[in-house]
């Protein structure tokens, strides 16, 4: 170092000084940047800690609802009517699918029953879906398809097989108007349900038992707190509260009788309700035509819905409890019984029937043009003599008739556990004033006496009335759910028990004697007796013109009615049958009802 010149030494000292300055400058930069980092970290970790902690928890933990299994529904003998079956679907996570076109083609090859259009549409949707969101292929795989996919699942990254329970109506169309169906929760449903009970579920009972017992059938959802990763894949379950399944329901109906009756209705419009008069249990609840509730479970297609909605035969209407028909002559036994009990007539009193009844210069025709001649109350029931009631009703007045029929359930809802029941109409002076603001005409009493005019009843009301008659006045409440105590042991006051037996005898003769209106089908019944009454409800009244079936549109034909119960001594079944536009009650409704009752009593008991 002695060999350095002065200048060289000076230069080196200046250089060292410069370098030291620059080092200090660099050190300052380091210090400044590290201070900035600490400030940034304090900002993130101190001042905004809560927010980021929330975000990280949100990342990490997701609460997934566990949908409860909806209660199953059985018939009175334990036959399953509504079940839940596992169905499978595929969910696609776009992010994890390497080649969408290739994948879709491979799926098509593996599951050839998926319609190519469905897949093509789905592919477009998939390509437009955000990467992190899973979307579900609108196709339901059956068990074997699910198994086939499961075996091949290693080929399909990003596609998951999901299982869920689907509502299945095992009897298809059968008893649809009783059971109802489930469907997607709509905006309207949201107003009436407790949304928290439907987490993880998107179906709700829409009609029938499914709707009425929604609260029992729908269980309580459980929940699962799960830790998920960025892909939404479950890492582990932190906490599980299992769901509570809905209650299984056992119904009072006998699906065998139900189907038997439905078969008898094949190709006809109408309704039938069969009740066990002992306890009010509904044995069959038929409304024809029917439709398949399975169509509604996953949301019905527009085409299907429109074709149901615009079907001329209106299959969606529940005729059994919503259909209101003029009860026609089926009211005769009740009016007759009331007249006996209240002394408007006696068991021995007869009137002469020339085939018509005249009141205030108007003729009220009997269904039999040549008349029945001398007829007492019994004969008026056996042969359905209209004239007897025309006269009787004028003596009684509409309010007496109303008061007689009301305890049997006419004109008011039965309180059945099926939603949407109609009231029917049981007219009275007060009713007409309240409804139309007009006074009652006596002529209206005359047509009311044979269940025409304002009178309307539902098949369910008629079955209830028949049951009460079978019970000799003990009132039952029809219901479809077994095991519930629906009983309110009310009794229609009886003045004379003989009056009741007299009326029931008359109804028995209507079925079992040659002059009876139901004889043609009743004569086949052996070993026990059935009591019944036919009815014919006029849909269109041609005041004085000639009644000519051929000239009338089929839709204007009379409805055919029948009510009855049996065996008379110890009634097991009471029934009402209405067949729309089928003509006289003796022709269609009576044979149908008698055949069904006979089948039930002989085969199914």
């Amino acid at each position: 170092m002695n060999n350095l010149t002065f200048d060289e030494t000076q230069s080196r000292i200046r250089q060292k000084a410069m370098f030291t300055n620059r080092l200090l400058f660099a050190g300052l930069i380091v210090f400044a940047v590290f201070c900035l980092f600490m400030a940034r970290m304090a900002y993130l970790q101190w001042f905004n800690h809560e927010e980021y902690l929330g975000l990280s928890e949100g990342n990490r933990i997701s609460v997934e609802p566990l949908a409860p299994e909806r209660g199953k529904i059985y018939d009175r003998n334990g036959v399953i009517l509504v079940d839940n079956q596992p169905v499978y679907s595929l969910s696609f996570m776009r992010e994890s699918i390497y080649d969408i076109d290739y994948t879709i083609n491979a799926i098509q090859e593996l599951l050839p029953s998926i319609r190519p259009e469905t897949l093509a549409q789905f592919k477009t949707r998939l390509k437009r879906t955000p990467r992190h969101r899973a979307i579900i292929l609108p196709y339901t795989l059956d068990e074997s398809e699910a198994a086939r996919f499961a075996v091949n699942s290693y080929r399909f990254s990003g596609i998951a097989l999901n299982a869920r329970l689907k509502r299945v109506y095992t009897q298809n169309k059968s008893a649809v108007h009783l059971l109802g169906y489930v469907g997607r929760i709509s905006q309207q449903d949201n107003l009436s349900i407790d949304r928290s009970r439907y987490r993880g579920t998107d179906i709700v009972g829409k009609t029938g038992i499914e709707h009425f017992y929604e609260d029992k059938l729908q269980g309580y959802p459980g929940l699962q707190r799960i830790e998920t990763n960025a892909q939404g894949r479950t890492i582990r379950s932190l906490e599980t509260i299992p769901p509570t399944s809905g209650e299984n329901l056992t119904l009072t109906i006998d699906i065998r009788l139900q189907k038997y009756l439905e078969n008898l209705f094949e190709g006809r419009r109408g309704a039938a309700v069969a009740i066990d008069p002992e306890n009010g249990e509904i044995l069959a609840f038929v409304s024809s035509p029917m439709y398949n509730p399975n169509l509604f479970v996953d949301g019905i297609s527009h085409t299907n819905y429109n074709s149901l909605l615009h079907d001329r035969n209106k299959p969606l209407i529940n005729r059994a409890s919503r259909g209101q028909y003029p009860p026609g002559s089926t009211t005769k036994p009740f009016i007759g019984l009331g007249a006996l009990e209240q002394g408007f007539t006696t068991m021995s009193e007869s009137i002469f029937d020339p085939g018509y009844f005249e009141y205030q210069n108007r003729r009220y025709r009997n269904w039999r043009r040549d008349g029945h001649g001398w007829a007492d109350l019994k004969r008026s029931i056996v042969e359905s003599v209209d004239t007897y009631y025309y006269k009787l009703s004028l003596d009684m007045g509409i309010d007496s008739i109303h008061d007689i029929l009301a305890p049997f359930g006419f004109g008011s809802q039965t309180g059945v556990d099926i939603p949407g029941e109609a009231n029917g109409i049981l007219p009275s002076q007060a009713w007409k004033m309240a409804t139309y603001g007009k006074a009652w005409f006596r002529g209206e009493t005359i047509i009311s006496s044979i269940g025409q005019g304002f009178n309307l009843a539902t098949p369910l009301q008629l079955a209830k009335a028949a049951s009460i008659l079978a019970n000799r006045g003990r009132i039952i409440n029809p219901h479809a759910l077994k095991g519930q105590s629906h009983e309110s042991p009310e009794q229609i006051p009886i003045k004379n028990r003989e009056h009741w037996e007299y009326i029931i005898d008359a109804m028995t003769d209507a079925v079992h004697t040659p002059r009876g209106t139901a004889w043609s089908s009743g004569r086949h019944i052996t070993g026990y007796k059935i009591a019944g009454k036919t009815g014919t409800a006029q849909v269109f009244s041609l005041n004085d013109g000639e009644y000519n079936e051929e000239e009338l549109d089929k839709r204007l034909h009379d409805h055919s009615l029948f009510i009855g119960f049996g065996p008379v001594t110890r009634p097991k079944i009471a029934i009402s049958v209405i067949v729309e536009n089928a003509g006289g009650g003796s022709r269609v409704a009576a044979p149908l009802a008698l055949q069904a009752m006979n089948h039930y009593i002989k085969e199914l008991q």
């Binding site: 080196r12 250089q15 410069m18 980092f37 940034r40 970790q45 980021y52 990280s56 990467r131 830790e227």
Partner: protein, 376 residues
């Protein structure tokens, strides 16, 4: 030439030699490095979800790198100066080779495959370029003539260009910075520095046009990460969530839910700081930054006490390059800088950058411990 290189005023100070100095080890630097590498081992273990295999590999690599550092420390700065031009030339040739026959990895040609080993020439350049520029100024008068500065800038520009076309923007910037630090420490006049920075600001919009779409996207995303929360902004958002959710004292060792649940990408490499910050909180970050400060200060001290121009320029540049590494990575994961994909030095899991860094520390140790030998 060699004579002027070895002569120094510092050689007047003679102190007794400790066993550390005999082994050419700088105790303070070693302490800082061992503490940082231990932190690294713990954090990699945690970030990998407690994966022993990964942690073990990382441990072996650390031991290897420490060994390499000690080996390099044995080479005297004068010998390092001797091999510098050759090392740089080889590095330059290999960069050209990469462009011609490089291996494709993640869409970029960065590796040369020699059959038995895959080598990334840019790693060599991280060391060779600043040393080469320092070598330029080692024999120059003070103040150095403009021609030296121009030569230095040309060398930096050529090297950086060769790397940026691979494409590897992050490494390219880093290497350019390491060369520019040498030029800065060599005494480039402030007027020119300020003028260049101004020119750079003006030329930014022009540079924009030459950027790759993904690079532009990264910059755009940096400006507004929430604009594409599921795409390129996702990483930054998740990283900020990780850091922020750590709070003051953190979620505890192994407590990073963001990493364990795979919300954080590259949690053992580029985003390891986020894992660390989530688990050890603001306090942990303060400790980590203190450790870095400690190593940086020691590096600057070594530069200050270096005996000759070459040594002090290399020491200053290496130290500041480490600082840039830290700045870019922490700035990136905390949302202050765009995502450029650089590991956190000494902490991230990963081979080549760790080895390169440890060699540079070996050179620092060599610079600090060989002075006394020259006075014997």
């Amino acid at each position: 030439m060699i004579h002027s290189l070895t002569s120094s005023t510092d050689s007047l100070y003679v102190t007794p030699k400790s066993w550390l100095q005999k082994l050419h080890i700088d105790g303070w630097l070693l302490l800082g490095l061992v503490l940082l590498l231990s932190t690294s081992l713990l954090t990699v273990f945690s970030a990998s979800g407690g994966d022993w295999h990964t942690t073990q590999q990382h441990g072996f690599r650390i031991l290897f790198a420490l060994g390499l550092m000690l080996a390099v420390a044995q080479i005297s700065p004068s010998n390092l100066a001797l091999i510098t031009p050759w090392a740089f030339l080889i590095g330059l040739l290999m960069l050209v080779a990469v462009l011609l026959f490089g291996d494709m990895g993640k869409g970029a040609q960065r590796w040369l495959d020699f059959g038995f080993v895959r080598f990334q020439p840019s790693e060599l350049m991280k060391l060779a370029l600043p040393m080469m520029v320092a070598w330029l100024f080692a024999y120059s008068d003070f103040p150095a003539p403009a021609s030296r500065f121009i030569m230095g800038l040309v060398i930096v520009a050529v090297t950086a260009s060769l790397i940026v076309v691979q494409p590897d923007l992050g490494t390219s910037i880093l290497i350019a910075m390491s060369g520019l630090f040498v030029i800065f420490f060599a005494g480039l006049p402030w007027k020119i520095i300020i003028g260049a920075l101004a020119a750079l600001a003006v030329s930014m919009p022009i540079a924009w046009n030459f950027m790759h779409a993904y690079q532009k996207q990264r910059v755009l995303t940096f400006m507004n990460p929430e604009s594409d929360p599921l795409g390129s902004g996702y990483h930054i958002i998740q990283s900020k969530i990780a850091i922020g959710s750590g709070g003051i004292d953190g979620k505890g060792f192994m407590g990073s839910t963001q990493a364990h649940l795979e919300f954080l990408p590259e949690s053992t490499t580029d985003f390891i700081f986020s894992v660390f910050a989530e688990e050890f909180g603001l306090i942990g970050v303060a400790v980590l930054l203190s450790l870095y400060s400690f190593v940086l200060i020691r590096g600057l001290m070594i530069a200050y006490f270096a005996q000759n121009n070459f040594s002090r320029l290399v020491a200053g540049s290496f130290t500041m390059t480490l600082f840039i590494y830290i700045t870019v990575n922490i700035g990136m994961v905390s949302g202050l800088l765009p995502v450029v994909g650089l590991p956190l030095p000494l902490v991230s899991y990963g081979g080549s950058s760790m080895v390169t860094l440890m060699i540079s520390f070996g050179i620092l140790m060599s610079i600090h411990t060989h002075k006394k030998m020259l006075t014997d």
